[in-house]
Every structure is written in C-alpha cells, then in structure tokens.
C-alpha cells in the first residue's frame, strides 16, 4: 500500500513557533507501536492522577478505553474505511479513522453520502483537558481537515458526520458543524454534521 504523506504545520504551545509535521493517509504499525508504548503509559499516568484526586470516572477522558490496534484490525483491507495520522517530532501526535458508507441526516442533505468520522484521538500530551500544558496545538484540526478534504476528493463535497464525545461538543460547534442533537441509537452521543457550505467555509479558514 502506498501512503500519501502531506507536509503540515502544528504550533508549539510553549514557544508559539510552528513545527513541521506529516499528515499520512494511513495508520501503520509504527503508529500502533507509538499508541502502545507512548500514548498508553502517558494516559495511564493521567488516569492514576485523576483516580488519586478522586475525580469520578464520568469526568475522565472519554476515549481512555479506545484500543487502536483492535479498531484498525477490524477494518483492515476494507475499502470503506480509511485511517489518518499526524506525525511530528518523531512520534504519532494524532489518529483518526473514517467510514465512507454512511449518509447524511441533516434535512438539507439527507440521504447523500458523507465521510463519517468514526474515531479521532490526539496524543495525551497534546490535550489541555488532561491537566498539563499541551505540547503541540492543531493536531485535531489537521485530522478534521483531512476528513473534509477526503470528502471533497471522493465527490461528497465536504459533507462530514460524527458522533461527539461530550468533552468535544464545544469544539465541533466552534468549527461550524450543525448539532443535530442526542442520538438515542448511539449511546446518546450528540450527532454533528458539516454541510457543503460549512465545509467550504471551514476549508477556507484552515
């Protein structure tokens, strides 16, 4: 498999300087190794700290149980699924997986195909909500941009859908997606969609 690699820039949160990074349109063994050997220990330290402070599990990072090795193994070889990752400073900074078989729900585009963002996770050390100052900024946005760009390339005109973990609701509203409310068929998570017009505006801003 040939992996498409695009240069992108992130922001060093401490210095404010831009950092060279790669957006890759696949999740390979190197990313799974990083997830296992770097993300997992960092996340475990955060969870232990939260447990020590008596923070209830409902307030823990909601993706703490995600297993990227299993997620990627389930869809290996299937055309309907694609992975993306951001690599910078020699390690994986973010991962995403999309599904191309879903259709829109937003009344103005109902039934039309979209890119559905199944999973998006940023490395624990880049997540300000986990307590420490983040190292790099822009990883999540880069992965969303990749999904919207794929939607355009596939002829879906930028349409994007996703179920948001509660801690990310505000982010998806901020980037202009339409909040279609809680989905009782999907763990009562809120479902967000990006229309063709919203996608155009989002890509112009990026």
């Amino acid at each position: 498999m040939t992996v498409d690699v695009s240069p992108i820039y992130l922001l060093d949160a401490a210095t404010g300087e831009s950092v060279e990074a790669e957006l890759r349109d696949a999740i390979e063994q190197a990313q799974l190794d990083d997830w296992q050997t770097r993300w997992q220990p960092a996340l475990l330290a955060v969870l232990q700290n939260l447990a020590r402070k008596g923070v209830p599990m409902s307030q823990w990072p909601q993706s703490w149980h995600w297993n990227w090795a299993e997620k990627t193994a389930r869809v290996r070889g299937l055309l309907a699924f694609q992975g993306f990752c951001v690599v910078a400073q020699g390690e994986t900074q973010g991962l995403a997986q999309v599904d191309l078989t879903k259709s829109s729900r937003e009344p103005g585009q109902v039934g039309k195909p979209l890119v559905y963002l199944d999973y998006l996770e940023v490395a624990p050390w880049n997540r300000p909500e986990l307590g420490a100052a983040p190292r790099l900024r822009g990883v999540g946005s880069a992965l969303i941009t990749a999904a919207v760009t794929l939607s355009v390339e596939e002829g879906f005109k930028g349409r994007l859908g996703l179920h948001s973990l509660p801690q990310a609701d505000a982010f998806y509203r901020k980037i202009g997606m339409t909040d279609l409310g809680q989905d009782s068929t999907y763990q009562s998570l809120r479902y967000f969609e990006m229309t063709v017009e919203q996608a155009r505006a989002f890509l112009e801003e990026e």
């Binding site: 040939t2 498409d4 349109d25 299937l78 055309l79 309907a80 191309l100 078989t101 585009q109 039934g111 039309k112 195909p113 390339e153 596939e154 002829g155 879906f156 005109k157």
Partner: protein, 70 residues
C-alpha cells in the same frame, strides 16, 4: 490522493438509467456511485463471510426482513 486507473464499463440502458438516477439523487458523480457500490458490497460480503446476516428494519412497524445474499 491515491492514483487511479481507468476502465471501460459496458452497461445496459436500464443499468445506465439507474446509475444516472442514483448520481442525481445522491449528488455524486457516476464514478462515485460505482465506488460507493464497491465499498458497500465488499463490506457486506466480509460480514456475511464471518457469519453475520444483513437485516432491514421498518422503523415504523419494527418489522425485520433479511436480505439474502447468494
């Protein structure tokens, strides 16, 4: 973007009509319709091969019907 290859497709009038209709209704190109069809067919085939069934449910009546794939 992944490199693509070109192929000629021979379709009957009826098949071409369906392709045209889907392309308009789904707001995607005819090529995108065929690519979607291939993705869905492969996904369904992989799940059926694992012993799963494909069921349709009527949202109003909750009636379920199995789609037989031979």
């Amino acid at each position: 973007m992944m490199a693509k290859r070109t192929m000629t497709l021979n379709l009957t009038d009826a098949e071409m009509r369906v392709l045209d209709e889907l392309s308009i209704r789904k707001d995607i190109t005819k090529t995108a319709v065929l690519r979607q069809a291939l993705r869905l067919y492969q996904t369904i085939d992989a799940r059926v091969e694992k012993g799963e069934k494909l069921l349709f449910e009527n949202e109003a009546t909750k009636e379920k019907a199995e789609l037989m794939l031979l």
